[in-house]
Symmetry: C2
Subunit: 348 residues, 2 copies
């Protein structure tokens, strides 16, 4: 079945090429399908509004490690990951569905923990759990999430739509979830070598929390509405800002200039990166799973957003096609390359 002749490794497709390659023969036939592959959500015309639908797959050993990820936190994070894509379209999430593949290693109590976390998240985001599919799994824990939301037709924001000169803004801070993961993996290695060592994670509470219990930025969508600002383009930060900029530049047809000195990095992220001998700016650009919102606004909206402590203008849209540059503190320019073959490649 898996004959090696004429075999092309998937990795050889390069960055973000697989879905694009596979979907090239698919054509949308329904007039109601407003947007298919190629954004954070699929967009469906429901008459007086749009529905937004998104799906995510979270696999044990790829997206989470149960040796340090408490199931309750994982349940919470899974819902966050799902609804984050709805917020990235400037919509509100209303329903989620959960597919669950369970090995017999899981007890009822373990699954209850997972669901307890999901329930807290559903209440936090104001979404209804409306069903799913539960099955046995021969291997690890499998979680598939589907979120459904809605947005007014004149409020929807896509990945593309920015114009040269628009400002590039990010909510919250960058790179924390990635450094939290480094801490957790280090403590796991220590524990496996010296089981009597109890990890002291207190000094890393912020970044560890960013990794284990991600928050989706529903509040950012609400704040933008309150400020009467409609972004010209938007995406959520799942794979990392560098990857998201790649997607946005591709969808916009224009690239970005990003100022290194503007990157919002929490002191805990900064200190931990330096302790790990990592460049904090690289961590901020390439570290994924922050689930912040990355968006562009017209310069005329600058007055409305400039005093918002949670928004940072980190750059602007250039008139150069699809090329993203980092302008460093020392005055140099480097091209921002998207990560290599990512573990998860989200395409609507």
């Amino acid at each position: 079945m898996f004959d090696n002749s004429d075999r092309t490794e998937i990795a050889a497709m390069g960055e973000f090429g697989l879905i694009q390659h596979l979907s090239q023969h698919f054509e949308n036939k329904h007039a109601k399908t407003v947007k298919g592959i190629g954004d954070d959500c699929a967009v469906i015309d429901q008459g007086d509004h749009f529905s937004l639908v998104t799906t995510d797959l979270l696999l044990e050993g790829v997206h989470f490690d149960l040796s340090f990820h408490p199931l309750k936190h994982l349940g919470y994070k899974a819902i966050s990951v799902a609804v984050s894509d709805i917020y990235a379209m400037n919509g509100m999430a209303e329903q989620v569905m959960v597919g669950l593949g369970l090995s017999n290693r899981f007890s009822l109590e373990a699954v209850e923990e997972l669901y307890a976390g999901m329930q807290i998240a559903c209440e936090h985001y104001g979404v209804d759990l409306v069903g799913g599919d539960t099955t046995t799994s021969r291997s690890g824990l499998v979680l598939s999430l589907t979120a459904v939301g809605r947005v007014a037709k004149d409020k929807i924001v896509y990945r593309g739509g920015a114009q040269p000169g628009d400002l590039l803004v990010v909510s919250g801070d960058m790179g924390g979830a990635y450094m939290g993961l480094q801490i957790l993996e280090r403590e796991k290695r220590v524990f496996m070598e010296v089981p009597s060592m109890q990890p002291d994670l207190e000094q890393y509470d912020y970044i560890v929390g960013r990794q284990l219990k991600a928050e989706a930025r529903k509040d950012v969508v609400e704040l933008l509405k309150m400020l009467d600002v409609k972004p010209s383009s938007m995406i959520d930060v799942s794979d990392g800002v560098a990857s998201e900029l790649y997607h946005m530049a591709k969808a916009n047809g224009f690239g970005f200039h990003v100022y290194e000195e503007k990157l919002p990095i929490d002191p805990q992220t900064l200190d931990t990166a330096l302790a790990f001998d990592l460049n904090p700016s690289i961590v901020a650009l390439n570290g994924g799973e922050d689930y912040e919102l990355l968006f562009t606004v017209a310069q005329s909206d600058y007055e409305k957003i400039k005093t918002m402590p949670d928004f940072t203008v980190i750059g602007y849209v250039t008139d150069v096609t699809s090329k993203n540059m980092l302008l460093t503190k020392s005055g140099n320019q480097f091209e921002i390359k998207a990560q290599g073959w990512p573990e998860s490649q989200k395409d609507s």
Copy 2:
């Protein structure tokens, strides 16, 4: 993490108990959420119509065996499984999303085969592939499917809603997919013992096709519309008719009487069951994956459906609470029990 104290095995939850148990603390908060957990699809109010959303998880080693399941057929079947739930609500599927977990054992050509099958299915059912999520998998192939459809508010059919005296109808025939699986698994065993033996599946083409390349009954929904028949309740046959009757009886509050002599069984299914020393009626009732539609209609609709060759009246709704009985050819009665812990437990 997996402390064995206070451990309850999931299997001990018994039939269909897990999702019900887990979801008991979840309450729907959105007025737009018309139906959450407990039917083939979630139902969302979109103003002048309902949206239907459903999700399925298909895992290698649980739901399919790649040693005999061609990837193209698997792609086709995956889409069929997803849209079948939409048809079970009397709706039309319009969009699907695919989550894909791939191990590095898969070449690009293999994934192309999978997608080629999906594309044929999408064209056949008239649905748009509108996105998904692709990720690496440390273990086997993982497929998660989400289907979205729509139905007029006055045309929606739930699992519940039947009245005593309503007729129980099934489309197509029963048990074929299960017997096809028995043939494929037997040939696999033979092949592993004597690799030079080439399987001759020609005489089993119908039942093997039922297993490998399932068809969802979009045509049944169209036919019912043409006949101006709205079923009083409906479900699709994924786990097996016995399990589906359990769900319907629970949702209706009434049980069913099923006539053994009426069960539609294809000659190939019958012959193969007998060759395997299996009771064909048991195969018909408990064999899953036929993806036929099982529905109830008022007796006044009998004239409209009686000449349809693809519809078989197999029983009726009783006034007995939630108990399903098989009335045998020999005049005996047996209670129809749902299967034990099913491999896949679908709940909207």
